[in-house]
Symmetry: C2
Subunit: 148 residues, 2 copies
DNA sequence: ACGGAGTAGTTAGTACACTAATTGTTAGTG
DNA sequence: CACTAACAATTAGTGTACTAACTACTCCGT
């Protein structure tokens, strides 16, 4: 008893989860832009700072694992963070291959600024915190499935 | 009666929805890469092709609206699609400002190849279709909230 | 002690993605 | 009709993001 209305085009743009993911990611990051820009950070740089505020020092490899980003992406990003004065890069004396990324005083101080950000974003999104938590759970499952 | 375990750090990396979104988006797009690469497409190019298969011709402005991408991003992308032979770009005679992007025979033929992709990806993800539909709905709500 | 395998980061090259400025075209108003 | 505001697309410039190739260092086994 299938009718016309039941048939779905698997190639239609609006049915693509990958498309929804890409647009949602770009849109939400766009919400951060006006908040981060006055602080002198891009969104990926903000994520690096979050990681460092949580547990500095970290090596490029550590950050790569935490943020799921290629070392080749992080390398120039970290140089820009260093140029901005938020971070220091120093080779580890016990293993000269490894790079210890640490926070400067300025970088540490920036955390106080950043503390307002999550609430600001949630407010601008205007969504229930519960709904966001559900979404976060769903995204975590997708990440697990995709990186398996 | 709040305990230590109840307190959440709003700046911890793992609590960030924006981070989960970014990683999920990159991870899922990464799943498409080995499938699209032999077809000669990147993921954004694939999305443009989806839009065109659905309703060519489209102007840059149309595509910009549909894909939520800046015209400045699409302009070079479309040139690459033209160079690859999938697409043609021609000014509209009734309005010389507008660019009509149409499919070539090769571009149209590519659709048959692409028809296998959604099933392949869902299979590689190994997630329930129902769960993906729920996620899609949640993402649509976020997009609506973020682009309001 | 040393030579090769493996590891950590960087560099090169391609392709998005955004903002701001530019070019060319159309349309609206005095 | 002229002229200006609005519009469509492109270009320039910065910053991700990926793969592949490369450098420098460590570790392991003989």
């Amino acid at each position: 008893m299938s009718e016309m209305g039941d048939t779905v085009d698997p190639l239609s743009l609006e049915n693509q989860v990958c498309f929804a993911l890409a647009v949602a990611s770009r849109s939400v990051i766009g919400l951060y832009r006006p908040v981060l820009e006055p602080m002198g950070l891009t969104h990926p740089q903000y994520l690096v700072m979050l990681a460092l505020w949580e547990s500095a020092p970290l090596s490029v490899k550590d950050l790569s694992g935490l943020l799921q980003l290629d070392p080749a992406t992080l390398s120039p990003l970290l140089k820009r963070l260093e140029a901005a004065g938020f971070v220091e890069r120093r080779r580890v004396s016990t293993d000269e291959r490894s790079l210890a990324v640490t926070l400067t005083d300025t970088g540490r101080a920036l955390r106080a600024e950043a503390e307002k950000i999550p609430a600001t974003i949630v407010e601008r999104l205007g969504m229930d915190v519960a709904e966001l938590q559900d979404l976060h759970k769903a995204l975590t499952r997708v990440i697990a499935a995709a990186t398996r």
